[in-house]
Symmetry: C2
Subunit: 488 residues, 2 copies
């Protein structure tokens, strides 16, 4: 590209119609000139050849993705990870904000993914390392999506629970139990205080535990538990299967007694979830297989927050995601990014309940609550309930005892003195985790309290300054909001 | 886990029924004891809690994934990429082969993905870095899949072309042309010698180029080109869209004149492709958005070869994949791995045509042909045809002239002397690429010529020796084969 070609892929955000563009934030590492690399990046993402041979035309004003901000963060001698693409000179690490015309593909998830993290994004000349950090949607684009049918408020209404987290439990052993034993474990969990007993994400409709029989038994157990406890309960059946079975399995599970369904979002595909959303009559809950393969490394792939936003658009009422603690190899800041992505305002799209999970038990509940800073979340232990030494009822009971202590400001150690189930949990799964320090970013005020100056975009400018934290980047002409206060 | 628990996740492959297991090859990096880490890895992939509290049972013999080979390759002081999981001591880099019981989930692509690259794989204690390198299927598992309807032989029969590569061309400008201009470009490409003129993977069913109108015009242009050239042609329409529109868009495109359809495999989801395969009456062609986000880094994610195998299982007749040359940031060895995964015997599943692509033009055809070592491939230039200075007909013609030279053993420079379209291509897109050296691995004899001793698995053994190259790992009790000689 010559200088004029490059200039055609840069734009002044203030001169564009913001309703016609998605805003995409990328981290990228390039060998060679960053402006040239960013222009190629836009070209590859959109109209890679913008005129026919021999025709005087320029398709870029309408169809090109355009750089609206480019910040060179640092220069280093090599790419951060060795790749099959030798650097021709110094490597520049950059943050770039792209305005991508959604009229190129419309409100279709597969076409959106193909544009924002497809061949163009990952095979742009001179940019072997790239990570899609965030995406922001204008109202016109959001209007093309249905989003969750129930959302956080709808889920709470179904359970009649409005003032505390929702307590999920993954029935264990996850694979191999026959339906009777599996249902009995769920029943015990509900009696002990679970709101939602769920299938493991790997449990399918197998001959050794058919979904019809499982749903029948769990549905009956659920009704017995509701009668005994006087509280509404949910059996969350995993219907993850081939796409052409999803709607049938939803009908089968629901007609037999399930009142919510679990789908492994990326393995099934977000678009198939959207199809199911149009059909389903019960809440849809997402599980996260495959996401980490895209997201774990800081300088390559796709940030989990993008996947969370897309799962919300696809219509999940709750999103199970990698949670806090060293086991899940995800920083607290990243978990909180995802919690915000579930709860913050998103035009007409309802909030999804965030369910950060991973090796939780009664002792980790306080820390999850403290980090999230509110009650709009789901808590999803597995072995912390079902491997409790006194059985699943005591395991679930230990969770509720922990919550009671947290709500009253009582230290867990003291609560355990006269709550034997909690004491047994601490003995089995403890020690109690140390309190994690909350970083400056987590403590920062919510986005809508930032002065508007901080949200300005340096249009087309290259500077060595540090850009706005991607965690707080927002669509500058929409009204962003605090995550935690709008969950319902 | 104690020592007995760990031992329960190791097995002697010779003592297992090979028809009941998938074989999975992983690269992994672990802090701490590799045997312990590998046992956890299997546990998390399958039955994470293998007995109920207070019940004397062990679900592992039937339901557990089992280590059948573990090779520690090296020890280093840190993980290869910095991650949110500090190493507690030295880091071991390992190759592990897992026998995973497919009776846990059955022949269902979403459940397969959830098991082999889901939460268990990417959140196993002490293993922050892992890459799924390969997968091998027994005949009983393959029997659950349909695979391609046409395959390589079927595609060749449709075109009446049996002795050379198939020539695709991506109509450009890819986005923004109205249907008339788009169809005219395709027509010119067919006249010049393309077999298949295709939509770009980012071109959807948009109001500025509706699929119905596009298919009508391209279908008519195709018939005119067939009449003028006396050769069968294919218009490959991109029907990538929301899953619940796929079958309708197939019908619409085909009824208006398309005779093959393109689907962006991962953005749509492999299971949705399988659904479409059951419905479709024309060849299905895959494009590769999103794959690189999973596969580029050598020590994390999922190898492209796994995705190629799964696309073949899902039913694609041809698979467009990142090809040779520096632009595509993929080693020649990896491209050849994918070519083999398309063509090698796979039980009753037909071969898919490999279509390695990326910035190709007449000058790169010889090198692609030489590296593949056969004619069973598709060649897919975009700008190399449609940005030819003399127009798309001359662009396509330059490709055919290059092939004629290759087939006759004439150097391209000499062929260009009396073939002006080729000469113009060299002037516009050249210089001609240098010949890449073929590595020892690429030159190695086909798999079925290896003595059987080399395919033995060191059961449960840990050694510091180098394992069999993952590119040649095969299911030891099935008959592997040479990739290139079985393409049809």
């Amino acid at each position: 590209m010559n200088a004029a070609d490059v200039a055609g892929f840069f734009a002044d955000w203030g001169a564009l119609n913001p309703e016609e563009y998605l805003l995409l934030d990328y981290y990228l590492e390039c060998g060679g000139d960053p402006r040239q690399a960013a222009a190629h990046f836009c070209s590859e993402q959109s109209t890679a050849q913008w005129r026919r041979q021999g025709v005087d035309e320029d398709l870029r004003p309408r169809f090109a993705a355009k750089v609206v901000d480019l910040q060179v963060e640092a220069t280093q001698s090599e790419f951060s990870y060795p790749v099959d693409c030798p650097a021709p000179g110094p490597v520049h690490t950059c943050r770039v904000r792209i305005a991508h015309p959604h009229g190129n593909f419309g409100p279709r998830l597969p076409n959106l993914l193909s544009a924002i993290c497809g061949e163009g994004t990952f095979f742009s000349p001179g940019i072997p390392l790239v990570k899609l950090l965030d995406i922001h949607f204008p109202a016109t684009y959001l209007a093309g999506f249905e989003g969750p049918r129930f959302g956080v408020a709808g889920l709470r209404d179904l359970l009649g629970v409005h003032d505390r987290p929702l307590f999920f439990g993954v029935i264990k052993p996850n694979l191999g139990l026959p339906p009777e034993a599996f249902a009995e474990a769920g029943y015990q969990g509900w009696l002990g205080g679970l709101d939602i007993a769920k299938d493991d994400e790997m449990l399918a409709d197998m001959d050794w535990c058919p979904l019809a029989e499982r749903s029948t038994l769990l549905g009956a157990a659920r009704q017995r538990a509701e009668a005994r406890t006087g509280q509404a309960k949910i059996y969350l059946a995993n219907i993850t299967d081939e796409v052409d079975r999803l709607c049938d399995l939803h009908d089968l599970a629901v007609s037999h007694g399930a009142n919510a369904v679990l789908v492994n979002a990326l393995p099934v595909g977000l678009s198939a979830v959207r199809m199911l959303r149009r059909h389903a009559r019960v809440p849809l809950i997402a599980h996260f297989p495959l996401t980490a393969a895209l997201s774990r490394l800081p300088h390559y792939g796709i940030h989990t927050r993008v996947m969370t936003r897309l799962q919300r658009l696809a219509g999940f009422d709750a999103i199970i995601m990698p949670g806090f603690g060293p086991r899940m190899m995800t920083s607290a800041a990243e978990v909180l990014d995802n919690v915000r992505a579930c709860l913050e305002p998103l035009g007409p799209i309802k909030p999804s309940l965030p369910v950060p999970g991973g090796s939780d038990w009664a002792g980790t509940l306080g820390e999850v609550h403290r980090l999230i800073g509110g009650v709009d979340f789901g808590f999803v232990p597995g072995r912390g309930v079902f491997a409790h030494p006194q059985g699943p009822e005591a395991g679930a009971c230990s969770i509720r005892q922990a919550w009671e202590a947290i709500a009253r400001g009582i230290p867990l150690e003291r609560q355990a003195l006269d709550h034997p189930e909690l004491a047994a949990a601490i003995a089995a799964f403890g020690p109690l985790p140390a309190t994690e320090p909350v970083s400056a970013e987590e403590q920062s005020p919510p986005e809508d309290q930032h002065p508007p100056e901080e949200q300005l975009i340096l249009v087309g400018a290259i500077s060595a300054g540090r850009p706005t934290s991607p965690g707080r980047a927002t669509h500058p002409r929409r009204s962003p909001g605090s995550a935690m206060r709008h969950g319902r």
